[in-house]
Amino acid sequence: MMTRRDALRTLGSGFGMAGFAGVAAGSDQPLEPKAPHFAPKAKHVIYLFLNGGPSQVDTFDPKPMLTKYHGQPAPSGNLKTERKTGALLKSPFEFKPGGKSGVPISDIFPKLRDRADDLCVIRSMYTERPNHEPSLFMLNCGHVLPGHPSMGSWLTYGLGSFNQNLPGFVVLCPGVPVIGPQLWTSAYLPSIYQGTYLPNNEKEPERLIQHLRNRHLGADEQRRQLDLLAKLNRLHLAREGSDPQLEGRIQQMEIAYRMQTEAMDALDVSKEPEKVRARYGEGDFARGCLIARRLVERGVRMVQVYYGNGQPWDNHDDILIHRKLAGTADAPMAALLEDLKASGLLDETVVMIGGEFGRTPSVEVSGLVRVQNGRDHNNHGFSMLLAGGGVKGGTTYGATDEFGFKAVENRVHPHDVHATVLHLLGLEHTKLTYRYSGRDFRLTDVAGNVVKGVLA
């Protein structure tokens, strides 16, 4: 399913056709683009992960009844969450319709709201557990327990990537989210499909990727070294007889050599015009979104950007902190969508925005909070945003109950989101399997349905 542009991109940055065929035959290039199951709507995924659990009723799911019944107990009682919650707590933020479609988004995301026509807000998400770890595993790896491959690993396993000079699945986080690398593990898939983690609090490209730059050698000097290495390896190969493993590594050395330049260039956001950087704004998340765009432009299959170290959106105490967090998330998300749209890349990129669960419409009153102005975890209902290739923009899908506690209409499980994203990328989720430990595993476990209602 490679378009001419893809082919050029691969070959232009890769090696000649003969070498290409030889290596592919030896299956030493597990990241070569592979044909999807059917014609895809999109080719890339950017997953902006607002880790900690952003509150749906303060962001993308307006609830007038919550305002009306503020301070009163929920008539049907509170659902069981991690901690004790009390009366209903109205959102301190106002919602306004955005774009031509009028999809309402709260005041803390004014710029993202202007892009509402690109967004499909799924308001009826739910997961099994009100705890960070299992829900993080579910959203990322499709299981509540560790030991399963991340979505990006499945995608690169199933589809490869378009640029052999860059990793196929890149994960950015300033620091690490709760749980950490297990969220982008390839688990039982070959480790080439593991997410390559880049700490985007680092500003220098060479500090972002392991061994990207030689501290002492100039490019010419290194070229000489590689030329010698290639000659010695060829002599070795001549002695041993043809072998795809040995030939493959000779070619990979060349790719690695080019990757130094290519990755350095992709990760260097200072190459963006001042005006562009200004639109993304300051901060790690802004840098992460900008790098994500630059990577996808260069053919990387999936980029995931975590909002911050630990779990910043976990505002048990005081929901007003959401305003501050949104302050550094709004501009980068909007700018990313705008740039992708302008370049046409939005048509072939699925952008996902969301956290591991939502928050309760009722106020948290457990003794662990000091200000009773926050919300507990809520796995029963929360929102997630999709945008881009094949997604029906300017719409909402599903609904929570009148207070925003529980998803009641067109409920969507993370399995369904995974099935849908895979579908957009041309993969039938039940067929993307890997045999391990005596059975076929897949991202969606034994569940998952493509959510037709969000498709364009």
Binding site: R83, S191, S366, V371
Partner: protein, 867 residues
């Protein structure tokens, strides 16, 4: 949790198109809906007389008549119920199904209501029977030592193993390669047995030794070397999912003594501990009767250091040791292998009847002294903290009573006489500084604002907070345990009032802000103390100091498990749900090995009985699984390609008789691993060259029948160790605490590096080191450009290149001489003329040419691959 796919249906109907196949459609769309929404009331409990777990049951229906009419969804009662068409019959009671689910049910009925034949979920009271057919599965047959077959080419035979291999080759009309060169062979056997390359002198000695015993001598030497355990112990640690820390979700949490288990494993290999005892020690080392019992207890680290997920211990025990996927039976009876759900919970009960413990490696009085000292220090710290906190709170109250004067002073721009200067500065900063999160001081500099009134508010606020704290303590029953806190309905200040309180009185311990304006932290508090108070603090601290100095070093111990006082069976969790419990599963071994119901374990948790059942000659799996792994590490490919799955969905052995022969020999030689290695590596089959051959390749491209040796990329441990070794820097110290591989002064063998479950070392994960969060079936070899960046740019390779260059430059004066020396060090051979010429040309210019040259040699295919 393992939830197994309905893979039967995949196997039968690979080309799934929506509703193309009725059974497939049922499995994908209908059964999940029935299972999720209906089974809880309409299976064993058959509410309303209806059960829905078979087609027959639905046709029979319940009190209202048949539930379905195949082909006629409109007339089916089931549809009436799920469509909520009849107000008296709305199902399921938990809420209406989605439209798509309803539509799926309708089209399933209209299509004839086909039913899949996959196994139903475990039911309370259902009886699982193992069929004769299942019992006859190859892997469950007793291991018998087969007669080595006859072959045409008798001259090829060195050991009985060769008969099995050659018979297969002859049958498949494949011609085995000639023997590898002696150089290739000694390099192969070195990496295989000790994970390090031979030195040039070793190679030369071997090449010069023309006796028929030449290889046997080398093999015996290697097996006697401590490096053997460092290589083979690591293979076991893959199975044991060994880690030096826990998977803590927010911070590093290393084990104090995990490495003692790692060293025990290495030592067990070096001592050639019988494999059955090796296993038994890890399962029940504390309960085995053995003269040197203390030595076996360390093996319990296999479970004591395991990842803390419910199915891990069952999984590592069954899949890792016996190649049987019992964890697949967690939610339902195994769909292919004879493993009822009961078996999973029977074994789980063994492990839930144990608890973590420690086996101190110090006398009881030393242990006791350490524990006492530690507690003494903690108590003293607490005492000091509480004293200071009390003083800080008292002081804050005193300062609060001066609030009005402070604010007036700030308005005037000068502290009134008698006010504390530092507190004045804090007030000034607070009043004139960044935005506050409450409105109380919005107008502090206006005439309308009354400092005196505000002072009253502050004092009242502090009183209110104290009262709330007191009330909350009562509500919590006097305990501030986290769980109680999370679930308790506690009082709190209103938001704005809380922020004012925090900004003035807060100690700043719980939140990321500086302490309140009035709260002076310990280091700032002391200048306020005098007289008896000051003296008291000095004495408290002196005591802490004394206790800290007297604190003994932590005593060493093994991480162990032990039986709980009151071992209990677990109950079956129906469909893996903790909220849906079925029958109790008596602790016992696997059903397939018993005639009727397995005999329940009677001794404590049952670990000893479990150990005896596994480390047992009658167990057909244990020896086969290990023999298969050993063969796989030697040949680069095991006989059963799925070493942790000998079940129906695993691969069949390429050489079933050979596998049995190896398993039988392992047991026959008292489970000696070294004897097994010896027999394997002295075979002709092991000594073949890795060269390719067109006609063989055409017939057997995957080398299933072993017509040649498999060329292999070095695993990360031998790779890193080799780079250190050839640059003359490998530190061969044996055992001890782990050091991170990122530490540039760590020049020890990689097996001694820190292994993290939380964040695996970058170099390890770059080169396919297994994830220590679960049992690893086998190593995989990937080859990626990122790996090549390691050779091009990593500080580690660069440091080795510098060291190698120093060795090379010191070895000779002339360039050609140095190049020869370099080849000898790195590859153990002389360079060809062409190689010398290339080297001479290269080092003739540029900066540090020998370092750059050395780096090239270290990055070559010749170093990375073993023939």
């Amino acid at each position: 949790m393992y939830r197994c796919l309905p893979f039967l249906s995949y196997a039968l109907f690979p080309a799934l198109a929506a509703a193309a196949d009725p059974v497939e459609f049922f499995e994908m769309k209908v059964r999940p809906v029935l299972a999720k929404h209906c089974y809880s009331c309409h299976t064993a409990t058959h509410m309303g007389g209806l059960t829905v777990d078979s087609r027959e049951a639905l046709l029979k229906g319940g009190g209202r008549g048949p539930a379905i009419a195949p082909g006629k969804s409109a007339e089916s009662l089931l549809m009436t119920a799920v469509r909520h068409a009849d107000p008296k019959l709305k199902m399921p009671p938990s809420g209406k199904l989605s439209e798509s689910e309803i539509a799926d049910l309708a089209s399933w009925i209209d299509g004839g209501a086909a039913w899949g034949k996959a196994a139903p979920a475990a039911k309370a009271g259902s009886k699982y029977t193992i069929t004769e057919e299942q019992r006859h599965w190859w892997a469950f047959q007793p291991v018998r030592k087969p007669e080595p077959p006859r072959v045409k080419n008798e001259r090829w035979i060195s050991t009985p193993i060769d008969r099995f291999v050659l018979a297969a080759l002859e049958r498949e009309r494949l011609k085995p390669n000639a023997a590898a060169s002696k150089r290739d062979l000694i390099r192969r056997v070195y990496y295989d047995l000790i994970g390090l390359p031979p030195a040039a002198a070793d190679i030369e000695k071997f090449e010069a030794d023309k006796s028929s015993e030449a290889l046997a001598k080398v093999v015996d030497e290697l097996l006697a070397s401590p490096a053997y355990g460092e290589r083979w112990g690591r293979y076991w640690l893959d199975v044991a999912r060994y880690s030096d820390d826990k998977l803590n979700s927010t911070q590093d949490e290393p084990y104090a003594n995990a490495w003692r288990y790692r060293d025990w494993v290495i030592g067990a290999f070096n001592d050639d501990m019988p494999y059955d005892l090796f296993l038994k020690a890890q399962i029940a080392g504390d309960q085995i009767e053995h003269p040197d019992k203390a030595k076996l207890v360390a093996g319990l680290g296999f479970y004591a250091l395991s990842p803390q997920f419910q199915d891990d211990r069952v999984d590592a025990t069954t899949r890792g040791v016996m190649g049987i996927t019992v964890a697949c039976a967690q939610c339902h009876d195994h769909k292919f292998d004879p493993i009822p759900t009961k078996d999973y919970y029977a074994l789980l009960g063994v492990f839930t009847s144990t608890e973590l413990g420690e086996f101190p490696l110090a006398p009881a009085d030393v242990v006791e002294r350490y524990k006492q000292s530690k507690k003494g220090i903690e108590d003293q710290r607490k005492e000091i903290d509480e004293f200071l906190d009390r003083q800080a709170n008292d002081l804050a109250e005193i300062l609060a009573a001066q609030t009005a004067r402070f604010i007036e002073s700030v308005r005037k721009g000068e502290a009134a006489p008698g006010l504390d200067g530092e507190t004045y500065e804090r007030w000034k900063k607070y009043l004139t500084g960044a935005k506050r999160e409450h409105p109380f001081l919005d107008d502090w500099d206006k005439d309308s604002f009354s400092p005196a009134q505000f002072q009253e508010t502050v004092i009242a606020l502090n009183r209110e907070k104290k009262e709330i704290d007191k009330q909350n303590m009562i509500r919590l029953g006097g305990s501030e345990v986290r769980r109680d806190l999370a679930n308790a309905d506690l009082l709190s200040l209103a938001r704005d009032r809380y922020f004012l309180w925090r900004d003035l009185f807060g100690a700043g311990r719980f939140e990321k802000f500086d302490s309140g304006v009035l709260y002076h932290k310990p280091e700032r508090l002391e200048r306020f103390l005098s007289g008896a108070w000051k003296q008291h603090l000095i004495e408290l601290r002196a005591e802490l100091d004394r206790r800290t100095k007297a604190m003994p070093d932590p005593y060493p111990y093994y991480h162990t498990i032990q039986d709980v006082k009151d071992p209990k069976n677990t109950r079956i969790q129906i469909r893996g749900s903790r909220d849906n419990l079925g029958d109790e599963a008596p602790r016992a071994f696997l059903s397939v090995f018993a005639k009727g119901d397995p005999e329940p374990f009677r001794k404590g948790s049952g670990r000893l009985e479990l150990a005896e059942a596994i480390g047992n000659r009658e167990n057909p799996l244990t020896a086969r699984v290990w023999a298969n792994r050993v063969w796989g590490y030697h040949f680069g490919k095991p006989l059963v390609a799925t070493p942790s799955n000998f079940g129906q969905l695993g691969e069949r052995p390429t050489h079933p008789e050979l596998l049995d022969y190896l398993a039988a020999r392992l047991m026959e030689q008292n489970w000696s691993m070294k004897a097994l290695h010896r027999e394997i590596v002295l075979s002709t089959a092991y000594r073949l060259s890795a060269a390719t051959d067109e006609s063989n390749f055409a017939r057997d491209p995957d080398n299933r029948y072993l017509w040649r040796a498999n060329r292999r990329r070095l695993d990360i441990e031998p790779l890193r160790d080799t780079l250190l070794q050839v640059s003359g820097q490998l530190d061969r110290t044996v055992g001890g605490a782990p050091v991170k591989l990122t530490n540039s002064s760590n020049r020890r063998r990689s097996v001694y590096g820190f292994v993290s479950r939380r964040k695996l070392d970058g170099t390890l994960s770059l080169f396919d080191f297994p994830n220590p969060n679960s049992m690893s079936e086998q190593r995989i070899e990937t080859a990626t450009p990122l790996q090549q960046l390691y050779f091009l740019n990593s500080g580690f390779v660069e440091d080795r290149a510098i060291a190698l260059a120093c060795r090379v430059e010191g070895s000779a004066f002339d360039t050609a001489g140095r190049i020869r020396a370099a080849y000898r060090m790195v590859y153990g051979r002389a360079p060809s003329k062409e190689e010398i010429a290339l080297g001479e040309e290269y080092v003739s210019r540029g900066d540090d040419p020998w370092v750059r040259y050395a780096q090239v040699l270290l990055s070559s295919n010749e170093l990375l691959f073993v023939d």
